[in-house]
C-alpha cells in the first residue's frame, strides 16, 4: 500500500489528479472493512486527514455549509445545525456507535454511496447540494443527483467531495426522521424515512418533502406523493391515497436484510402516520 498525505486541499487535488486510481481516505470507517478483507492491498491511498479546512461547519442566515470531513459527531454538536437541521442531527446520532460517529465523515458517507446511508434521507429533504472539487475546478450537484447506483456516484476521476451546502429551511409544521433497522443500535437500516411538512393557514398542505432510504439503490424523494398532496387537507383519506402512490416513486428491493414487501408496507405506514399526525 502506498500512502499519499497531502497537507492542503490544493495539494490533495493535485495528487489525486496524478493518481486518479487512489483510494481517498477520510474517517476510514468503510476503508478499514475493505482493508481487512484484503481489498486495499497494493492500492494507493490518499489520506485526507491533513485537510483541516474541509472539516469546518459554517452557517449564514441562508445556508449551512458542512465541510466534507466534518464527522457525524461534529455535526451533532454544531449549534446552527441543531437548530435548523434537526433531522440530520438525529440521523447522525444513529449511525453505527459512538466510535463510528467520531471517525466517520459526512463526505465519506456520501462518497461511499451505500443504499443504507443514514444521512441521505435528511439531506434529500433539506435540498442539499454537494460541492465537488478537482484540480480542474469546482462544481455543485443537487444531492438527489450525486448517486449513480449502489456504491456509485457521479464523481469524476480526480474529483473529491469538498462540502455539503444546505439552504436553511423555513420552520416546518412537522418533521419526521425514522430509522427502521430491527435492532436498537448498530443496525444497518432496512428502511429510513425523512419528512418535512408545511401547512398553510387554512390547514391545507403548502409543501411536503418526503424521502426514503435503503429502499432502492439510491435515496428517493417521493415526487408523485409530494405533488399529489399539495393543497389538500392531511386527513386519513389523503394518507391512504398518498400511501398508494409510494410504489410509483420507489421500487423497493429484496436483499439479505429485508424484503421489498416489508419495506414498502413500512414506508407506506410511516408516510400515512406522518400525514395524519396531530402535531
Amino acid at each position: 500500500m502506498t500512502l499519499l498525505r497531502p497537507r492542503s486541499a490544493a495539494e490533495a487535488l493535485k495528487l489525486y489528479a496524478q493518481s486518479p486510481g487512489a483510494l481517498p481516505l477520510a474517517g476510514g470507517t468503510d476503508f478499514m472493512v475493505a482493508w481487512n478483507a484484503g481489498l486495499a492491498n497494493d492500492r494507493v491511498v490518499l489520506d485526507l486527514a491533513g485537510l483541516e479546512a474541509w472539516r469546518r461547519i459554517a452557517a449564514t442566515k441562508t445556508t449551512i455549509t458542512i465541510g466534507a470531513l466534518a464527522t457525524h459527531a461534529d455535526i451533532q454538536r454544531h449549534t446552527a445545525v441543531r437548530r435548523h437541521l434537526p433531522l440530520l442531527v438525529e440521523a447522525c446520532a444513529m449511525v453505527g456507535g459512538l466510535q463510528i460517529q467520531n471517525r466517520g465523515t459526512l463526505g465519506g458517507n456520501i462518497a461511499n454511496a451505500s443504499p443504507a446511508g443514514d444521512t441521505f434521507p435528511p439531506l434529500a429533504v433539506y435540498d442539499a447540494e454537494v460541492e465537488l472539487a478537482s484540480a480542474r475546478g469546482r462544481r455543485r450537484v443537487p444531492f438527489g443527483s450525486v448517486f449513480a447506483g449502489v456504491k456509485k456516484t457521479v464523481l469524476e476521476p480526480g474529483e473529491l467531495i469538498a462540502a455539503i451546502h444546505v439552504p436553511v429551511p423555513r420552520r416546518p409544521t412537522r418533521a419526521l426522521w425514522r430509522k427502521v433497522g430491527t435492532r436498537a443500535a448498530q443496525a444497518i437500516s432496512k428502511t429510513m424515512a425523512a419528512g418535512l411538512l408545511w401547512l398553510a393557514r387554512d390547514g391545507t398542505i403548502a409543501e411536503l418533502r418526503f424521502a426514503l432510504g435503503s429502499m432502492a439503490p439510491t435515496v428517493r424523494r417521493l415526487a408523485s406523493v409530494e405533488a399529489h398532496v399539495k393543497g389538500r387537507r392531511p386527513d386519513r383519506e389523503l394518507a391512504r391515497e398518498a400511501a398508494a402512490l409510494v410504489a410509483r416513486d420507489v421500487a423497493p428491493i429484496d436483499d439479505i436484510r429485508s424484503t421489498a414487501e416489508y419495506r414498502l408496507a413500512v414506508s407506506q405506514n410511516l408516510l400515512a402516520s406522518f400525514l395524519t399526525r396531530e402535531t
Binding site: 492491498n41 443500535a185 444497518i188 439479505i256
Partner: protein, 737 residues
C-alpha cells in the same frame, strides 16, 4: 469459617481479564511461527479434480499441506469416522477445508491461499433436509398407547414449528497454535472447551501415543458449544502445517470465515399432535422431530437425543410417542450449541401448549399447573422423578413476579383500542433441562478430577473442565474451599493441560458443576480425611498447612487425591431400549416475556423478562444470574433477530453487520430469581444452569406476540417481516380449497 458456597465470590480470573493481562491464542508471540490459512471449497458438493499452484505467484516461503500429508487416517475423530481433516476426492459441503497454506507473513498467506487453484466437478447437492435420504440417527420413544390416547381426548390440537440455524457469536473466533517439541511431542495451544477431545482426535491423525500429544487451553473468549468439537479440526490443521513446515503454526479465523465455516445450531422442524380433555388434562402427545445435521455426523446423534428427550416439555402425560431423526445435507456440519437440541424442541412444545390453552379456552398458567411434572411424576422414557423438581414453584413465582394475569387483562384493554400505535403482550413458558450427559453417557465418560496438596502447601484443583466465561474456576474453588473449611483465596485451579490434569470429560451439557464439581468435592473430602487422619483436623493457618503438606507429600512434589465418576445408586438406563433415567437431575425454569409491537413497523421491543429457575443450590448467585441474563439475551436473539440467510448451502450474511445479534440496548430489564430444590447428589445440592436459559425465552416471546396480535408465528425468528406478512394474510386470506 464463613461459607463461600452460596455467596457471589469474586471471579477467579476476573482481574486478569479486566486488566488485559489474559492471553488469548493470538496474543502469544511464538518465535518462528507461521500463519496458517485454510483453502475452502466454494461449492456444496463435487469432486476434486486437482490442486495446482498458480505459476505466476511467488511461492517462496509458502508451506502447503493437503490430505496426502496426514501421517495417520484422514479422519477427525468424534463419534463416527466420516469427517476428513482435509477433503480428498470429494467435497460434501461449501467451505469444506481442501488444503492449507502457511507463511511467516499473514497477508502473504491469504494471498497464497487465493493462488492455490483447486479444480472441481460440481455435483447436485441436497440442501433441504426433507429431501435427504441419508439418516444419521433416529429415535422412537413411547409411553402408553398414543393411538388410543389420541382418540380418547376431547379434542386434538396440531401444529408445525420450525427453527433455523443459529450462530454462536462468541467474542473470540476459533484459533489454535501448534508446534513439535524436540522430542517429537505435539503441543497445541487453543481456544476450546474440551482439551481431551482434541487429544483424542490428534493421536491417530499424527500416529502418536498419548504422552506425545499435549493439549493446552489458552484463555478462551466464549464457546457456547461452538468450541466443543470444532477445535479438533482447526487444531489438526495447525498441527499438520507445523509438521510440514517444521515450525510453529498459528491459525486464527476472522469473523467471516468463522461464521461461514464453523458449526451452527441444528435447524429443525417439529410437528405436534396432542389430545387433551376439556379440563386441560393431557391425554396423548405425538411428536415428530426432523433435524438437519449438515454434511457429517459430528455430534448430531447426541444433539438429536437431547432434543428428543425434551420434546414433550416438562409434562407428565400417560400416552407419548416421539419419533425423531437427523439427516445429512450438503451444508456445513451443525454442532453443539448451548441447549444442544432442547431449545429447538422446547420452542415447539411450549408454543404448542399455548395453542392448546387457546383451543380449550384455558388459562396458560392453570393448564401448565395441571400437567407439570412434580416429585413422583413419570417421564416418557419411564424415569420417575424422585427428588429436586422445582417446576411448579418456578411457574408460580414467575407468574406472580411478572404480574402475568394482571398484565394479560391490562394489555387486552390496550389492544382493544384500534387507535393505539402499538400492540402489547405478555407470554410465558416453562422448561426443563437435564444436567450432564444423557443416559449412560457419564458412565462411558468415566470422568476424573483431582485435588492436590503441594509440598509448598498450595491446594490445587486438577480438572480438564475449561473456563470460557461461565465460571468453572470460581465454582471449583468455592466447592473445594467449603469442603475443606478453608478460605476461598487459598484454592487455585490448574490450567487445563492434558500433561497436567486428568480427563474430566468435555466442558458441555451443564455438567461441570453437578458432575465434575461432585468429583472435585469427593476428592477434597479425601484430602480432608487425610489431613484429619494425620493431624486431627484441617490446618487453619498457612504455616500449619505447609507443615501438614510436608508429611502428607513425603518425597513427592504433591499429594494428589483423584476421583472417578460413579453412577448414583438407583440410577438405571438401557441404551438398547432407550429407557430409564435419562438424566440424573433436571433444572427447571419459568420465563415470562413482556413486549410491545409497533403497528407501523412491526418492530418488537421486549420490555421485561422475568426468569425464575430451580437449579438446585445456587453455588454462586452472581455468576448464576449472569448465566441466566446472558443466555436469555442469546435466546431473545434466536427468537427475534438472528436470521441466517442461506443460498445453495452457503451462508450469505456471515458478518455481524448483517447477522443481527442483540446489543445491550436490545437487552431488556430482567428479573432473575431462584427457587432452589436441592439435588442430593449435586455438590452442596447444585444442578446445572448453563443451557437452561436458552430454552424458555423463544416460546415465551411467541406466546407474547400472540397475546399482542392474535397471530401465531410458529417459525423462528419472529422478524418484523414475518409479522407484517402474517398480518396481511389475516386481513386478506388467500383462497384455500
Amino acid at each position: 469459617m464463613a461459607h463461600v458456597v452460596g455467596t457471589s465470590a469474586r471471579r477467579k480470573e476476573g482481574p486478569e481479564k479486566l486488566s488485559g493481562h489474559a492471553r488469548y491464542v493470538d496474543d502469544y508471540r511464538i518465535p518462528g511461527c507461521l500463519h496458517g490459512v485454510t483453502v475452502r471449497a466454494p461449492i456444496a458438493r463435487g469432486r476434486i479434480l486437482g490442486i495446482a499452484r498458480d505459476p505466476a505467484f511467488d511461492w517462496d516461503g509458502v508451506v502447503i499441506a493437503t490430505a496426502e500429508d496426514i501421517p495417520g487416517p484422514n479422519v477427525v475423530t468424534l463419534i463416527e469416522p466420516d469427517q476428513p481433516l482435509l477433503a480428498a476426492g470429494e467435497v460434501r459441503h461449501a467451505q469444506e477445508p481442501v488444503a492449507l497454506v502457511a507463511h511467516a507473513d499473514r497477508s502473504r498467506a491469504y494471498q497464497a491461499a487465493a493462488h492455490l487453484k483447486v479444480e472441481y466437478e460440481s455435483l447436485q447437492p441436497v440442501i433441504d433436509p426433507a429431501q435427504s435420504e441419508q439418516v444419521f440417527k433416529s429415535f422412537l420413544i413411547e409411553r402408553g398407547d398414543v393411538v388410543a390416547g389420541l382418540a380418547a381426548g376431547d379434542l386434538v390440537v396440531e401444529g408445525t414449528y420450525t427453527v433455523p440455524h443459529q450462530e454462536h457469536a462468541y467474542i473470540e473466533n476459533n484459533a489454535a497454535a501448534a508446534w513439535f517439541e524436540a522430542d517429537g511431542t505435539l503441543v497445541v495451544l487453543a481456544s476450546m472447551q474440551c482439551p481431551y477431545y482434541v487429544h483424542k482426535a490428534l493421536k491417530p491423525l499424527f500416529d502418536l501415543p498419548a504422552h506425545k500429544v499435549r493439549i493446552v487451553q489458552a484463555v478462551t473468549g466464549g464457546g457456547f458449544g461452538g468450541k466443543e468439537e470444532y477445535p479438533n479440526m482447526i487444531a489438526g490443521h495447525a498441527a499438520l502445517l507445523a509438521k510440514k513446515a517444521g515450525r510453529p503454526v498459528k491459525i486464527v479465523y476472522d469473523r467471516h470465515e468463522d461464521m461461514l465455516a464453523t458449526t451452527k445450531r441444528h435447524p429443525a422442524r417439529i410437528r405436534h399432535r396432542t389430545a387433551v380433555k376439556r379440563d386441560g388434562t393431557l391425554v396423548a402427545q405425538d411428536v415428530d422431530v426432523l433435524m438437519d445435521g449438515g454434511a457429517y455426523l459430528t455430534l448430531s446423534p447426541v444433539v438429536l437425543s437431547r432434543g428428543t428427550l425434551h420434546a414433550t416439555g416438562p409434562y407428565d402425560c400417560p400416552n407419548v410417542r416421539i419419533r425423531s431423526r437427523v439427516v445429512a445435507t450438503h451444508t456445513p456440519p451443525n454442532g453443539a450449541f448451548r441447549g444442544f437440541g432442547a431449545p429447538q424442541t422446547l420452542f415447539a412444545a411450549e408454543l404448542h401448549m399455548e395453542r392448546i390453552a387457546e383451543a380449550i379456552g384455558a388459562d396458560p398458567v392453570a393448564l401448565r399447573r395441571k400437567n407439570l411434572v412434580r416429585e413422583g411424576s413419570t417421564l416418557a422414557v419411564g424415569q420417575v422423578l424422585r427428588e429436586s423438581v422445582g417446576a411448579l414453584q418456578a411457574l408460580d413465582e414467575c407468574a406472580k413476579r411478572s404480574g402475568f394475569r394482571d398484565k394479560r387483562r391490562e394489555y387486552a384493554r390496550w389492544n382493544w383500542r384500534k387507535d393505539q400505535p402499538t400492540w402489547k403482550g405478555i407470554g410465558l413458558a416453562v422448561v426443563h433441562h437435564g444436567s450432564g450427559f444423557t443416559g449412560s453417557g457419564e458412565t462411558h465418560l468415566a470422568s476424573r478430577a483431582a485435588v492436590a496438596l503441594t509440598r509448598e502447601g498450595a491446594i490445587v484443583v486438577l480438572a480438564a473442565s475449561t473456563e470460557f466465561g461461565q465460571g468453572t474456576n470460581t465454582m471449583f474453588s468455592q466447592v473445594t474451599a467449603d469442603t475443606l473449611g478453608l478460605p476461598y483465596d487459598w484454592i487455585t485451579v490448574e490450567t487445563p493441560d492434558t500433561s497436567k490434569v486428568p480427563d474430566s470429560g468435555p466442558t458441555v451439557a451443564s455438567r461441570t458443576c453437578m458432575v465434575v464439581g461432585r468429583l472435585v468435592r469427593q476428592a477434597a473430602l479425601d484430602l480432608k480425611a487425610a489431613l484429619v487422619a494425620e493431624h486431627g483436623r484441617v490446618p487453619h493457618t498457612r504455616a500449619h498447612l505447609r507443615e501438614a503438606a510436608l508429611t502428607l507429600c513425603g518425597d513427592a512434589a504433591e499429594r494428589r487425591f483423584e476421583r472417578e465418576y460413579e453412577k448414583p445408586s438407583g440410577m438405571a438406563w438401557d441404551d438398547a431400549t432407550y429407557r430409564g433415567d435419562a438424566y440424573e437431575a433436571y433444572s427447571y425454569a419459568a420465563v415470562a416475556v413482556d413486549l410491545e409491537i409497533d403497528k407501523a413497523t412491526w418492530e418488537v421491543t421486549v420490555h421485561r423478562v422475568t426468569s425464575v429457575q430451580d437449579i438446585g443450590t445456587t453455588v454462586n448467585p452472581l455468576l448464576a444470574e449472569g448465566q441466566v441474563i446472558g443466555g436469555t439475551a442469546q435466546a431473545l436473539g434466536y427468537a427475534l433477530l438472528e436470521s441466517p440467510v442461506y443460498k445453495d448451502g452457503v451462508m450469505l450474511n456471515a458478518q455481524l453487520t448483517n447477522y443481527v445479534i442483540p446489543t445491550s440496548l436490545d437487552t431488556p430489564e430482567m428479573d432473575v430469581a431462584f427457587v432452589p430444590a436441592p439435588y442430593s447428589n449435586g455438590p452442596f445440592g447444585a444442578k446445572g444452569v448453563g443451557e437452561l436459559p436458552m430454552d424458555g425465552p423463544p416460546p415465551a416471546v411467541a406466546a407474547a406476540v400472540h397475546d399482542a396480535t392474535g397471530l401465531w408465528i410458529t417459525d423462528l425468528p419472529i422478524l418484523p417481516e414475518r409479522l407484517a406478512r402474517a398480518e396481511r394474510e389475516r386481513k386478506a386470506p388467500r383462497n384455500r380449497k
